[in-house]
């Protein structure tokens, strides 16, 4: 297992370098160069022009530029954003990345869970009219034009029913005179949520070893304990209403992102279940007279999960894309919105920063999915 992870880690590092190199070539291949928006200003004198060129490194040969770019990237220097002039790109990423991460993680976990369970049931009820309704509904959500779907959600829940705010990250009036900055608070929230998630995951894993009859209450107890722990940590700090404000803003984006990405997992699980159900061991389980639920959950679903996890890697990129679009619709100030704004204002360093960030996110998510897969499938581990 350790050797496998190590090997994957090395591969990921190499892939990361190839990715950065490709990104750099993309930058080089654009017509003109990124200094053009400044250099084309006719008021500049020749000396100023040369100074600007030297600052951007445009007076050097391409291979030297490449090494300069790589070395400053490794030192965490992604340049200065054009549109937020004195701020460093890396600084902006540090501010906004947690928001994207939170959105992405919550939506991914929720949509995978929902997708897996519905897919399982769908395969079981093959040929019933329920299957058609859910499949068509799922495919519609999967291929729905995300911006439009987000707008519809905003129309219904925010503009008409006024249950939720229309986009943005916080309610400014509430935060006037708040004892803590929203970004800092959000980072703490993210940290506690991650810890809670890990504890919950370990608890549920431990509960799997129990007798199936007694498993349910123990699992629910775990959920309650974790929630109580979170409440016990946050309520004494007196920041609850600020947290609730952020969460209130988070509901609609997470809901949207979940809706559009759960169907992918659902349809995959269905196909994978259908293939598993033809295996001999399912027939054997039936012949033994096991209850239907046990066959479905313990014999079929567990084996059907393997290809779903593999293909989950594909859906990660899809979820990141969905995240970018969702952030834009809900003006959630994460990396997606930042990337889009940078693209619209020709802020090339910021665009490259966003690209590096999404690439890294995709690679890391890939790595985690791989490790999870190795954990689920022993054949990979010793292969």
């Amino acid at each position: 297992m350790r050797r496998y992870i190590l090997r994957r880690l090395i591969q990921i590092v190499i892939t990361f370098f190839i990715f950065i190199t490709l990104a750099y070539f993309l930058l080089e291949a654009q017509p003109g160069d990124y200094g053009q928006i400044f250099l084309s200003n006719p008021k500049l004198t020749q000396a100023q022009r040369d100074a600007l060129k030297a600052m951007f490194g445009l007076d050097r040969p391409p291979h030297e530029r490449y090494f300069r770019y790589m070395s400053s990237l490794l030192r965490g220097n992604l340049g200065i954003s054009f549109s937020n002039y004195p701020r460093q790109v890396i600084d902006i990423i540090k501010d906004r990345a947690p928001r994207t991460l939170f959105l992405f993680l919550t939506a991914t976990v929720v949509s995978f869970t929902i997708g897996f369970f519905t897919g399982k049931i769908l395969a079981w009820k093959r040929g019933k009219s329920l299957e058609y309704v859910v499949t068509v509904g799922g495919v519609t959500l999967y291929t729905v034009f995300t911006p439009w779907f987000g707008l519809m959600i905003l129309w219904i829940f925010a503009a008409t029913l006024k249950l939720f705010p229309i986009g943005k990250f916080i309610t400014p009036t509430l935060w006037r005179g708040a004892p803590i900055e929203a970004t800092v608070l959000f980072q703490r929230m993210l940290l506690t949520a991650l810890i809670a998630l890990v504890i919950l995951f370990l608890w549920l894993l431990a509960a799997l070893r129990l007798n199936p009859d007694r498993r349910r209450p123990v699992q629910w107890l775990g959920v309650l304990v974790v929630l109580a722990g979170l409440a016990a940590y946050w309520i004494p700090t007196g920041l609850t209403r600020y947290i609730l404000d952020i969460l209130h803003h988070l509901v609609l984006p997470v809901f949207t992102l979940t809706c559009i990405s759960f169907a992918g997992t659902m349809l995959l699980t269905r196909n994978s279940m259908l293939e598993t159900l033809r295996e001999d061991y399912i027939m054997a389980a039936r012949a033994k007279g096991l209850p239907e639920k046990a066959i479905r959950d313990k014999h079929a679903a567990r084996n059907a999960m393997l290809p779903v996890v593999t293909s989950f890697v594909f859906s990660l990129a899809f979820a990141i894309d969905g995240g970018v679009i969702t952030e834009t619709i809900f003006s959630w100030p994460g990396m997606g919105l930042t990337l889009l704004e940078a693209a619209l204002t020709q802020d090339i360093p910021m665009v490259m920063g966003g690209l590096v960030f999404t690439g890294t996110l995709a690679l890391l998510a890939h790595l985690i999915a791989d490790i999870l897969y190795a954990y689920l499938d022993p054949r990979i581990r010793y292969g």
């Binding site: 990715f19 993309l26 040929g127 291929t143 707008l151 349809l267």
Partner: protein, 326 residues
């Protein structure tokens, strides 16, 4: 072709067989083709979901075909042109749906239905061009790397690994910041990205199973060159799978185009995404009273994407026997 004659023989009576032997080869091939088409159609039609998808595609194809005819014979170009027309008889723009303008007009006074129909054509062209490029690249690379293996295989597979990991729309946003993208260029980029990406991996794995079949061995023994084996034996057998992945590429191409033009990143005249973008920049986005600015375009994108996806899934059940009904 000796093979196909022999397989045909087992189904036929001696007289029929004799009659068939008199016929030229192309007629038999056509016959075989028609027969496999019929069987596949029956399998496809078993699946109601695929038929729904096909119906939606046909509906939009009709819209796309009808537009130039309507423009020529029924609609006045000054009023109904999707890009430069102006509905001068309406006092307020955007005007609500009326008998003259079935889906109303947009904030610039252009007929929404005309825009919708005009865009359908370019969506089809974009989707099909991107899909053709993808399938050409994917099938070629897949067949070559499965057949030759080695460095070629490793290189293309690692490249594909990187491409499938990257979020598609995000890359396109970055590209549109660096380059000026119009419709043909976008089709090219989407085609290349998905051609070198996931499609190649799947087609290659299929090609690997074909490569070890007995008839490939036979062709090699008979003295067939590499080019002959790849072109006449491997690629024709990859075609069904390639066709399937064309459907999925069409979905992603239409979706990406719509998203990019919704963000205003594309350099195009009219498209469904751009229609929503126009409504947004004019400030009609969250106004429930002007639904016709957003709902028809959004619904069209969704329906057409879903339709190609559904057809793809139904074809999957035709091609992959393991998914068929018990």
């Amino acid at each position: 072709m000796q093979e196909s004659r022999r397989s045909l023989d087992t189904f036929l009576s001696p007289e029929e067989r004799e009659r068939l032997r008199q016929q030229p080869l192309w007629k038999i091939r056509l016959h075989l083709f028609a027969r496999s088409l019929r069987t596949n159609w029956r399998l496809f039609a078993e699946n109601r979901i695929g038929l729904i998808g096909l119906a939606i595609i046909l509906f939009f194809a009709l819209l796309a075909i009808a537009h130039p005819i309507l423009m020529k014979y029924v609609w006045d170009p000054n009023v109904y042109d999707p890009v430069v027309g102006y509905a001068y008889e309406e006092t307020m723009q955007p005007a609500p749906p009326s008998p003259r303008h079935l889906l109303g007009t947009d904030p610039l006074g252009r007929d929404v239905l005309s825009q919708l129909m005009f865009s359908a054509r370019s969506e089809f062209i974009l989707g099909l061009v991107a899909a053709l490029i993808t399938v050409t690249i994917g099938t070629t690379i897949g067949a070559l790397s499965a057949y030759f293996g080695g460095v070629l295989d490793t290189f293309f597979m690692r490249l594909a690994d990187i491409i499938i990991m990257l979020p598609f729309v995000t890359i396109l946003i970055v590209l549109s910041a660096l380059f000026k993208l119009d419709l043909p260029k976008l089709a090219l980029v989407i085609g290349i990205l998905s051609g070198f990406g996931g499609t190649t991996i799947i087609i290659k794995s299929q090609a690997l199973t074909i490569k070890v079949r007995a008839y490939i061995e036979a062709a090699r023994v008979a003295g067939g060159s590499h080019a002959h084996i790849i072109l006449r034996h491997i690629i024709p057998n990859l075609m069904p799978l390639s066709f399937l992945y064309m459907m999925f590429t069409v979905t992603s191409a239409i979706f990406s185009e719509a998203a990019l033009s919704f963000f205003g990143l594309l350099n195009i005249r009219m498209s469904w995404g751009l229609m929503i973008h126009t409504a947004q920049t004019a400030g009609y986005l969250l106004n429930t009273k002007t639904w016709w600015l957003i709902v028809p375009a959004g619904l069209s994108i969704t329906l057409l994407c879903a339709a190609f996806y559904l057809v793809g899934r139904a074809l999957d059940e035709v091609i992959n026997p393991r998914l068929r009904k018990r």
